[in-house]
């Protein structure tokens, strides 16, 4: 397909590391791709509050409770930054909401796993936020301005998320044998799903090549996943915990860890809606939206009344 003059100019701008802004000309597929990616990202922040919300009332101390509450509140903020970034591309908030609540939109499959012990709050912060940070640090340099700017803010906020999780893991893994076992169990359950967060292998990732050309993505799924593994292995050693991968081994030649194989059948199965908590998550969001309807109506009615009074 021959490139149009506009398209060539657009690519030139992207190649010169100039940010694309909402009113600039952009290829229809760039817009479409971004709406899909940013809205999925936003939905992930919103649904991502649920597995941790599960433990707010049962946090083992006031300190842990305050921290968890602040973290979950941050995630709500992240969802809002991302929704408003998506809106600059012409999609409405109502449509974004509908896509999530009807199950049409996807969100990160990691949030369809249950958080069954307190150690899961540690593993989620350490691994899930850790993986999310890797992706988001890359997105600070994404080509679309309204997506890149909130990423900078998000990355600043995320760094405490990962640290509070690692702190929980550190305390548990140096506590009683039962506590250590609980931490190990959480690592066993969250390790592989965390690696899946980076998405399918580059060879099987349908949007990857185009996203790289448009500089929406700056690093490939496999590249980010490898950096994450290389960093996390050392952190697990400090905790004295075993990463549940018998094939994990340092490779002198590549200066990276070799590691086993991801169960991609599981990944695609969870994405299709068959994970342990898909239904629960969606139902929780639908209920929250329905239960909040009267508040939104009342707020609009009140605003209308006030506006009328002011006009009179």
């Amino acid at each position: 397909m021959a490139e149009s003059k506009e398209e060539a100019l657009f690519q030139e701008k992207v190649d010169a590391e100039q940010k694309i802004e909402p009113k600039d000309w952009m290829p229809a597929d760039y817009r479409k791709n971004l709406i899909r990616q940013i809205s999925q990202h936003g939905h992930s922040e919103i649904v991502g509050m649920l597995p941790e919300g599960n433990w707010i009332t049962r946090a083992p101390s006031l300190r842990r409770k305050t921290v968890l509450l602040a973290k979950v509140q941050d995630e709500a903020g992240h969802g809002l930054y991302l929704y408003s970034a998506a809106e600059t591309l012409g999609i409405g908030r109502d449509e974004l909401n509908d896509q999530l609540l009807t199950g049409k939109a996807k969100y990160s499959s990691i949030f369809n796993y249950p958080t069954i012990t307190w150690a899961d709050m540690g593993a989620v912060g350490w691994l899930v936020d850790g993986a999310a940070i890797m992706n988001q640090v890359m997105l600070c340099r994404t080509s679309y301005g309204p997506y890149a700017r909130p990423m900078v803010r998000i990355c600043k906020e995320e760094s405490f998320h990962q640290r509070q999780g690692y702190e929980i893991m550190n305390v548990l893994s140096h506590g009683s044998p039962e506590q250590k076992a609980m931490a190990q169990d959480a690592l066993d359950r969250w390790w592989w799903p965390s690696l899946m967060m980076f998405g399918p292998s580059d060879a099987d990732s349908p949007h990857s090549a185009q996203s790289m050309k448009w500089k929406i993505k700056r690093q490939s799924n496999d590249e980010l996943r490898q950096i994450f593994i290389d960093r996390t292995v050392q952190q697990a050693e400090v905790l004295g915990l075993q990463i549940p991968d018998p094939e994990l081994k340092w490779n002198e030649e590549t200066q990276h860890y070799d590691w086993g194989t991801i169960n991609w059948d599981e990944f695609f199965n969870v994405i299709k809606g068959n994970g342990p908590c898909n239904k629960e998550r969606l139902t929780a969001r639908q209920k929250a939206h329905a239960d909040g309807a009267w508040v939104r109506e009342a707020a609009l009615a009140y605003a209308g009344k006030k506006a009328k009074k002011k006009a009179a």
Partner: protein, 96 residues
């Protein structure tokens, strides 16, 4: 899903410190100005990022058009004499 009316969109500007400019930080939906400002506090200043918030209805914000960016800004292109470096100063003169 039943169609409900959306809250209008507000653009949010935050002044991080007294004496500095208000800077655009993003946007949010709110029923009225008060709600916009209160939500902006919760969304954009959870870590003391600001001490003053402006909320502007997005529909009241007007922008220059990127497609005529070239022609629109070029009157300033060839006026180097608006910059101090354009002028030749004698070496001996100080503090100028």
């Amino acid at each position: 899903m039943s169609k409900e009316q959306d809250f209008p969109l507000w653009e949010i500007f935050i002044q991080s410190k007294r004496g500095l400019d208000h800077k655009h930080v993003g946007s949010l939906h709110a029923a009225d100005a008060q709600m916009a400002i209160e939500n902006a506090r919760d969304v954009y200043t959870r870590r003391n990022e600001g001490n003053s918030i402006w909320a502007v209805l997005a529909e009241n914000l007007h922008a220059s058009k990127p497609e005529d960016q070239g022609a629109f800004f070029d009157p300033a292109d060839d006026k180097v004499y608006r910059h101090p470096t354009f002028y030749v100063m004698p070496k001996e003169a100080k503090y100028i």
